[in-house]
């Protein structure tokens, strides 16, 4: 027989002993006035104590952990800089993925810090409030360490000098920016559904992981190390995403349709934003990790499938239009790269026609679509370029009113027909790229008619001037260096010189 053991408090009990009593009900003012936002979305909470702390970390321990992570990360960043780590990457084309990350994704970390700071004030329950406040600090750390990790490339390569400025102004960066603006201007529960659940849990493996494994495959150790450092925080963020969903669904059954609508909306907005990642994975990494199609199958169809099978127990259905998104996985990256190839004179990174063996890789990974629809077009553009007629599109594209992506995506069953939808609101017509975006618009038209659409703004004269170079200057672009075709760019010239030196040595 085992001897009688002395009872020890479990970690959960210890945490609650340490943190209990940190909140109180206000008496000078009614709670509803102090916390005006946590019930206006229609989410009904009967018992805030029903919130289970998704992680049990005291502030004291938190600082200790984060400071050691910082020490290690900065040691790697320093040694990367001292050893000229940029010379060890596979190819200078890789840096364009970094440019996209720094201008498109890193500012989202800052947006997340703002969002969590806001909702960290708005929940009357102490548990979610503390969780959000800690995440706000994490996000601030992430944006800071990302900027520091990648700033080394700014010494040598173009397009990395004005990320926050560009994020607020440049046409394609309005895609991720408007995603977060939409989330931050929603109520606190919708914010957590969009960011903690849809973004950090369901889609993170399709956003963050491809960039980090792309970095690992392409010799970018500074970014890889940043990735590890952030991933140890992400686990907490993902758990928060799951907890908030369970909390809402278990508190009241009237919450179920609201949560379902948010899942439908944020799944669709998320997949639209991931277009940028799809293109990065299939076209921008000199050494590829896996195709977008493969990533989608593993991380959404399989992992997401298991999640939604579990959520079905609550009466939650898989996101609306998930079937269309899965069809799109065959097309998205190719169509997106084509859009950027058209408009690379107005982008802060370079595009190019993939090398022959890269085209062969795409043919192999996309046997149903690439040779039929996309390879001939790329080969034609290649021929044109070699004949001195590199194609740039001089007109401005129409943007989707919701996701703000140029309306160049096709009908998935008919990849030669452009897809678009039309809604009418107060006698004006609004165009969206898909049924998913149309649904979002139609449910809250008053929100989306206010969208700051870059192309509209240019035509209205709000973006530096009437000519393309005026707009690009307003974007803070160094014309002829940050933008245009990769072939012949200063980036390529510098890289080729380094390679020549290395051969000589």
């Amino acid at each position: 027989m085992a001897e009688k053991r002395k009872k020890k408090l479990g970690i959960k009990q210890r945490y609650s002993m340490l943190t209990r009593g940190l909140g109180w009900d206000t008496t000078y003012q009614p709670m509803d006035k102090v916390f005006p936002y946590d019930n206006y979305e229609g989410i009904i909470i009967h018992d805030w104590e029903g919130w289970e702390d998704p992680f049990r970390l005291t502030m004291d321990a938190y600082w200790k952990f984060q400071s050691e992570k910082e020490k290690k990360l900065y040691a790697v960043i320093d040694s990367f800089a001292q050893n000229n780590g940029h010379l060890g990457i596979t190819d200078a084309r890789y840096v364009n993925a970094i440019k996209l990350f720094l201008t498109g994704v890193s500012p989202l970390e800052y947006q997340a810090a703002r969002g969590f700071t806001h909702v960290g004030r708005q929940f009357r329950g102490v548990g979610p409030r503390v969780a959000c406040q800690m995440q706000a600090i994490d996000e601030l750390r992430h944006v800071q360490t990302q900027v520091h990790s990648m700033s080394h490339y700014n010494k040598y390569f173009d397009g990395l000098h004005s990320a926050p400025h560009m994020h607020d102004r440049v046409w394609y960066l309005s895609v991720p920016k408007s995603f977060f603006d939409d989330a931050r201007t929603a109520g606190p529960f919708e914010f957590l559904t969009s960011i903690s659940f849809a973004f950090e849990y369901v889609l993170t493996n399709l956003l963050f992981v491809p960039f980090m494994s792309g970095a690992a495959f392409n010799g970018d150790m500074a970014t890889v190390t940043f990735g590890f450092s952030a991933q140890s925080d992400e686990a907490r963020h993902m758990t928060l995403g799951l907890e908030v969903i369970k909390f809402m669904l278990e508190q009241d059954e009237r919450n179920i349709p609201i949560v379902q609508r948010w899942m439908d909306k944020w799944f669709w907005r998320g997949t639209r934003m991931l277009t940028l990642v799809a293109m990065m994975m299939d076209y921008m990494l000199p050494k590829r990790v896996m195709s977008w199609r493969e990533a989608w199958d593993i991380y959404f169809t399989e992992a997401g499938g298991a999640l939604f099978a579990d959520l079905a127990r609550y009466g939650i259905k898989p996101p609306k239009y998930a079937d269309i998104a899965t069809k799109e996985a065959e097309h998205l990256s190719h169509q997106a790269w084509h859009i950027f190839y058209n408009y690379t004179h107005a982008a802060a990174f370079h595009t190019w026609i993939p090398e022959k063996e890269e085209l062969d890789w795409l043919s192999e990974k996309y046997p149903n679509t690439f040779d039929k629809y996309y390879r001939p077009r790329l080969e034609y553009l290649d021929k044109e370029e070699k004949a001195g007629r590199r194609f740039y599109n001089d007109t401005l594209p129409m943007l989707c009113q919701v996701c703000q992506i140029p309306m160049g995506f096709t009908d998935m069953d008919d990849p030669t027909t452009i897809s678009f939808e039309v809604s009418e609101y107060k006698d004006d017509k609004y165009h969206t790229c898909s049924l998913g975006c149309k649904d979002i618009f139609d449910y809250e038209p008053e929100k989306y008619v206010q969208a700051w659409l870059p192309v509209h703004q240019i035509y209205q004269g709000n973006c530096g001037g009437a000519e393309v170079p005026d707009v690009l200057k307003w974007y803070n672009f160094n014309l002829g260096a940050d933008n245009m075709e990769y072939k012949g760019s200063p980036d390529q010239k510098l890289w080729d010189e380094w390679q020549a030196h290395r051969k000589k040595a």
């Binding site: 970690i11 758990t239 298991a306 127990r313």
Partner: protein, 352 residues
């Protein structure tokens, strides 16, 4: 070569194979340690090593800090054992768990009775008394069969001189074929016990719902016998689902029990009633019978589910639709050796 791993604060002891991670061993033993990435990157599965030697494995320096390594912390998903080890993990202590030690028992088969055409009741009289919690199971060694087979104990723990098992014949199942075809009264058998976390949470003092499918009746029978004998003050409701009248057993026993105790209700349900069945009771799936009985609303109860995986899943959905959630649902899935480890799941639920 294998080592013993003791998991505090629950005091559970499990075997860990050489090269097997702590997390893998715990999950296979039914002990849930919170985890996420499962490859040393996220730190969700961090545990304290209190005693013994371990190999911390490929833990990321950002997921397991140097000062934590010095303090004896490891990541269970990549840590392997190099001796017998005691860990402390983030596991909620269960007020109703007795943490009984697992022992080896020997006994003699004293009764074999046909309960239905394919279910036998087997009683093993023990050489020494057994201590277990109602709902737990044994790992029975069957002559000529590799590896033990799990069977729930159907009698209440106060009858400590024997164990009663309900054994359904699994077509082409080696173990159950032996028990049905070759085992005879007077044979000697050995087993180890008690196993499992399927026992009643009396301390929460809630009315209980038992949903049993087929021979999944055994654990609920032990639980109900004990609760009624102890005078548990809350309502108990047993639903027993079988295919047809011929598959139903212990009907008289539970009908008599329900007549004797006002706090106990018994609702058998036939999912596939045959034309000749003399039956005016519930028909359809057992979870549907439960939904009708409780008018679709289960909030405030505790539910104990025992039976084949599809019955468990359907019952969980019915209960959750009726606003009863993971914290109040306990289940014991009956898997035969051929069922394997089951479907891929998300980390949304821990126990169900």
């Amino acid at each position: 070569m294998s080592y013993e791993l003791t998991i505090e604060p629950i005091g559970e002891v499990i075997e860990v194979e050489e090269g097997q991670t702590i997390l893998d061993a715990c999950l296979r033993a039914g002990i849930y340690i919170p985890y996420q990435c499962n490859h040393g990157l996220c730190s969700t599965c961090k545990v304290d090593v209190v005693e013994g030697d371990v190999d911390i494995g490929d833990a990321s320096p950002f997921a397991l800090m140097d000062f934590e390594r010095d303090d004896g912390k490891v990541l269970a998903c990549v840590c392997t054992l190099e001796s017998d080890v005691v860990i402390e993990a983030d596991i909620e202590e269960d007020d109703d768990a007795e943490y009984l030690p697992i022992c080896d028992y020997t006994g003699t088969v004293s009764e074999i009775t046909d309960l239905t055409s394919d279910v036998k009741k087997i009683i093993i009289s023990l050489d020494e008394e057994i201590e277990f919690q109602a709902g737990q199971y044994i790992q029975l060694n069957i002559p000529g069969v590799d590896g033990p087979r799990a069977f729930s104990i159907a009698n209440s723990p106060d009858k400590a001189d024997h164990v009663e098992l309900h054994v359904r014949l699994v077509p082409e199942g080696k173990g159950t074929s032996y028990l049905h075809g070759k085992l005879a009264e007077g044979d000697a058998l050995s087993f180890s016990a008690p196993y499992g976390h399927f026992f009643v949470r009396k301390s929460q003092n809630k009315p209980m719902i038992f949903i049993a499918g087929g021979t999944g009746l055994s654990s609920p029978k032990a639980m109900i016998d004990e609760l009624l004998a102890d005078g548990y003050g809350q309502k108990l409701t047993l639903f027993h689902g079988v295919r047809s009248k011929a598959d139903l057993y212990y009907q008289d026993y539970f009908t008599a029990l329900a007549e004797k105790h006002d706090s106990f209700a018994y609702i058998p349900a036939l999912s596939d009633k045959k034309d000749g069945d003399d039956w005016d009771g519930e028909t359809g799936f057992v979870h549907e019978a439960a939904e009708r009985f409780f008018d679709g609303s289960f909030a405030g109860h505790q539910a104990y589910l025992c039976g084949p995986p599809p019955m468990i899943e359907a019952s969980i959905r019915a209960l959750m639709k009726g606003r009863l959630f993971e914290n109040d649902i306990y289940c014991e899935k009956f898997l035969s050796k051929a069922d394997g480890t089951g479907d891929k799941r998300s980390p949304l639920f821990k126990r169900i």
